[in-house]
C-alpha cells in the first residue's frame, strides 16, 4: 500500500470518527445556537424599548404667542406639515425629504390654551410632557420643557421632534423649497472616499477600511479557534490511543509520518468543515448586509482573500504537527494539553500584535515577521489586505515557501517526537534521551 493510501486511511478514519463525536456535533451546531440565544437575550430589551418607542408619544404645546398656530394635534413631519411648505418641497423636487420627514411621525403635539391645563394633562398622564413657547421666543429662542418627575436617561422628552415642528412652521412661506429641504435635511447622504498614502483618491473609505482590517483579524481569530479546537481532538485522540494501547497496532501498519499526517489531515478537515459551516451560517444570517456593502462601494481585498486558504492550511499543519509531537509525551489528555500549550500561546501571538501591525502594516516589524513561520500567515494576510500593492510578490511567495518548508520540517520533527512520545508509556524521557532516540 502506498504512503498516501495509508495516510488517507488514517485521515478518513480520524475525520469520520471526529465528525460523529458528540462533542464535535455540539460545538458545531451548538455554537451558532448559543450565539443566537445570546444575541436574543441581549436583543430582547432593545426590541421592547424600540417597540415602546414606536408608539406615538403625545406632548402638549402651550403657545400664547401663536408661533406655531396649532389648532389641533399635529405631528412633526406628519401629513399636517404646513401645506405651503409641502408644496414648496414638492415643486423643487424634494419628495425624498418629504418622505423622510413623514417617516418620523412618532411624536405628536397637542395644543393647550394654558400651562395649567397642560400640567393637569401631564399629571393625568394623558401626555408625556409639554413645551411652553414664551412670548419672546422668536427673539430669544428659549423654550420651557416640562416632564414628569422621573427622569429617563435615554429619552430626549420629544425635544428633537419639537424642534422639527418649529423649523417647519418657521420656514413655511419664508424660503423656497430647495433651501427649506436643505435646512430640514442638511445631509441627505454621504459618499465616502479615501486618500491612499500615494495621494490617490479611492472609492470606499470607512467601510472599505473596516473590511480590510476585519478580513485579516477574522482570519487570525478563526485560525486560532480552529487550531485550539482541532488540537483538542488531536491530543485527545493521541492520549486515547496511548491509554487504549492501540499505538503498536497503528505503528505496525503505518509509520509515524503517515499516522501524524493522516491525523492532521483528517482532523484538520473536520476543523475546516466546522469553520465553513459557521461562516455559511454567518453569511446566511447576514445576507441582508451584502446589498449594504455593495452600495457602499466596498473594495474587497482579493489578494488576501485568495491567499487565505493556502496560508490557513499550511499554518494549521505547521502548528498541528508541533502540538501533536509534543503533546504525545503526555500520558493522558491533561498532560498532553499542558505540553502542547506553548504552541497554542505561540499561535495566538499575531493576534496579540494586531494593533501595532495595523498601525504600520509594511514597517520593519511587519516585514521581519513576514519571514517567521509562526507569524508569517497572519502577517502576510494583514499586509495583503491592508495594501496589497505594498506587499512585493517575492515577499508573499518567499513567506509561503518558508512556511511550507517549516511545515515539512515540523511534520518530520513532530513525527519523530510522536514516535518517541507514543511508545513511551512510563516516566517521561529526559531531553538527552529524546535527542538520542530522535536520531535513530
Amino acid at each position: 500500500m502506498s504512503r498516501w493510501r495509508r495516510t488517507k486511511t488514517v485521515a478518513t478514519f480520524e475525520f469520520l470518527t471526529t465528525v460523529k463525536r458528540r462533542g464535535y456535533l455540539i460545538a458545531t451546531f451548538g455554537m451558532p445556537i448559543f450565539i443566537g440565544l445570546y444575541a436574543a437575550v441581549l436583543g430582547l430589551p432593545a426590541y421592547f424599548m424600540a417597540k415602546q418607542a414606536s408608539k406615538p408619544s403625545i406632548y402638549g404645546v402651550v403657545d400664547p404667542g401663536g408661533v406655531l398656530r396649532l389648532k389641533e394635534e399635529a405631528a412633526a413631519g406628519s401629513d399636517q406639515i404646513p401645506e405651503e411648505l409641502r408644496r414648496a418641497l414638492e415643486t423643487s423636487g424634494q419628495q425624498d425629504t418629504v418622505a423622510r420627514i413623514l417617516g418620523n411621525t412618532r411624536s405628536r403635539f397637542r395644543p393647550y390654551a394654558s400651562e395649567s391645563e397642560a400640567r393637569s394633562a401631564l399629571v393625568a398622564q394623558t401626555i408625556k410632557g409639554y413645551f411652553v413657547l414664551p412670548p419672546d421666543y422668536l427673539q430669544k429662542g428659549g423654550v420651557e420643557a416640562y416632564g414628569p418627575d422621573a427622569g429617563r436617561l435615554s429619552n430626549d422628552g420629544g425635544r428633537g421632534a419639537f424642534e422639527n415642528l418649529l423649523r417647519q412652521h418657521l420656514l413655511a412661506g419664508r424660503v423656497d423649497g430647495t433651501i427649506a429641504a436643505r435646512i430640514l435635511d442638511p445631509v441627505s447622504g454621504t459618499h465616502r472616499l479615501a486618500v491612499t498614502p500615494k495621494g490617490e483618491v479611492v472609492d470606499g473609505g470607512g467601510a472599505s477600511t473596516a473590511v480590510h482590517i476585519i478580513l485579516p483579524v477574522a482570519f487570525m481569530i478563526l485560525f486560532l479557534l480552529s487550531v485550539l479546537m482541532t488540537s483538542g481532538f488531536l491530543l485527545q485522540g493521541t492520549a486515547t490511543e496511548k491509554e487504549n494501547k492501540v499505538v503498536d497496532v497503528l505503528l505496525a501498519s503505518a509509520n509515524p509520518d503517515e499516522v501524524l499526517s493522516g491525523k492532521l489531515l483528517g482532523l484538520g478537515a473536520a476543523g475546516l468543515l466546522q469553520v465553513i459551516l459557521w461562516l455559511s451560517l454567518l453569511m446566511v444570517g447576514g445576507i441582508g448586509i451584502l446589498p449594504l456593502l455593495l452600495s457602499a462601494h466596498v473594495e474587497v481585498p482579493w489578494t488576501a482573500a485568495l491567499l487565505a486558504l493556502p496560508l490557513f492550511i499550511a499554518s494549521f499543519l505547521f502548528f498541528g504537527s508541533l502540538m501533536m509531537g509534543s503533546g504525545s509525551f503526555g500520558s493522558n489528555m491533561r498532560e498532553a494539553q499542558q505540553l502542547a500549550m506553548v504552541w497554542s500561546l505561540t499561535a495566538a501571538l499575531p493576534l496579540m500584535m494586531t494593533g501595532p501591525l495595523i498601525q504600520d502594516p509594511h514597517g520593519v516589524v511587519a516585514r521581519v515577521l513576514t519571514w517567521v513561520p509562526i507569524t508569517s500567515a497572519a502577517v502576510v494576510m494583514l499586509r495583503a489586505s491592508m495594501d496589497a500593492a505594498a506587499l512585493a510578490w517575492w515577499e508573499a511567495a518567499g513567506a509561503f515557501a518558508v512556511l511550507v518548508a517549516s511545515t515539512w520540517l515540523a511534520i518530520r520533527i513532530g513525527a519523530r517526537l510522536f514516535r518517541i512520545g507514543l511508545l513511551n508509556s512510563g516516566a517521561r524521557p529526559s531531553f538527552k534521551e529524546i535527542i538520542r532516540q530522535a536520531r535513530l
Binding site: M1, V246, V249
Partner: protein, 303 residues
Amino acid sequence: MPIVAFERLTKSYGQTPALQGVSFDVEQGEIFGLLGPNGAGKSTLMRILMDIIRPDEGRVLTFGHPRTRDDLDRLGYLPEERGLYTKLTVIDVMTYFGALKGLTRADARRRAVEWLEKIDLPQVVSWRIDRLSKGMSQKVQIAATLMSEPEVCIMDEPTTGLDPVNVRLVYDLLIERRKAGRTTMLSTHQMSQAEVLCDRVALIHRGRLMVYGGVDDVRRRHSRPEVRVRVRGALPAIPETANAVQGAGGEWRIPTEAGGEPADLLRSLIAAGTDVHSFEPLLAPMEDVFLRVVTEAGYEPLA
C-alpha cells in the same frame, strides 16, 4: 529462503541491553515459537520486526530482502498489550485495522463480518468495544489481526486469558494458517502450547539466543538419556538396569548410559529374557528445557 531472518540484532534501553546479537530464521509455513522468561527481549524483537522500534545494530530481512515499509502490509501483528478503540463499534475498529493493512473499506467490512462468525461472535458486530468482555475483546483483536490474511503473523501471547474452549479455537485458526502455507510466529510462556503447536522454537534469555531449532530436536538435545519401559515381572539384573527407578503398574524409568542408544538397551533386555510390553525413549518436556536453560543461565530478567 527464510521468510523472516534476524541478523545480529542488538538493542539497548538506556544502559540496559534488551537484545545482544540475536540471529535466527523463520521458515515459510511454520508455526514458530518465541520462548523466554519475562523481560527476555521477545517483545522488543517483535516490535523491531514490525518497525515500531529500531535496533541499535543488526537488521531484519523479510521475504528474502531487507524489510521495507511496504512489507508491513504482508505482516500481521497482535501486540502483547491489547488495544482497541473503546468508544467505537467492533465493525468500525476491525474495518479500520483491515484498511490499514491494505484492504479496501468494503472488503475489510465484509471480512470483519466473516471473521466474527468464524470466532463465534457474530452478535457483537455493532457493539461498542467497551461492552465486550475481556475474552471477547481478545478474540476480536485476534480476528482483526488475522482477517487481512497476512503471510506472516506475529502474535504476542495470543491465548493469555482465554478459556480452554477459546484456546482450542485459536489453535485451530493457527493450524489452518499453517495448512494454507502461512507463517505464524508466536511468543508464549506456555511450554505445552509450544510442544503442541510449534514446529520450531527459539528461546531467548537475557537478550541472547539460548536455544533454537525444531521442537523435537530441542527436546531431544536437552533430554536426559532415559527410557520408559513396561515389563511383566521384575527387571533383569543386568548392568544397564542398575540405576532403574520403579514406577506404578510395572513401569520403569531406565537411564541410558552416555552415548548409549535406546535400541541397545532394548536388545539387552530381550536377550535377558524380559517380557517387554512397551518401550519408549523419553524426551524432556519443553518446560524442563526452559527451566534448565533459564536456571543455568541465571534467572534475572534484564528489562
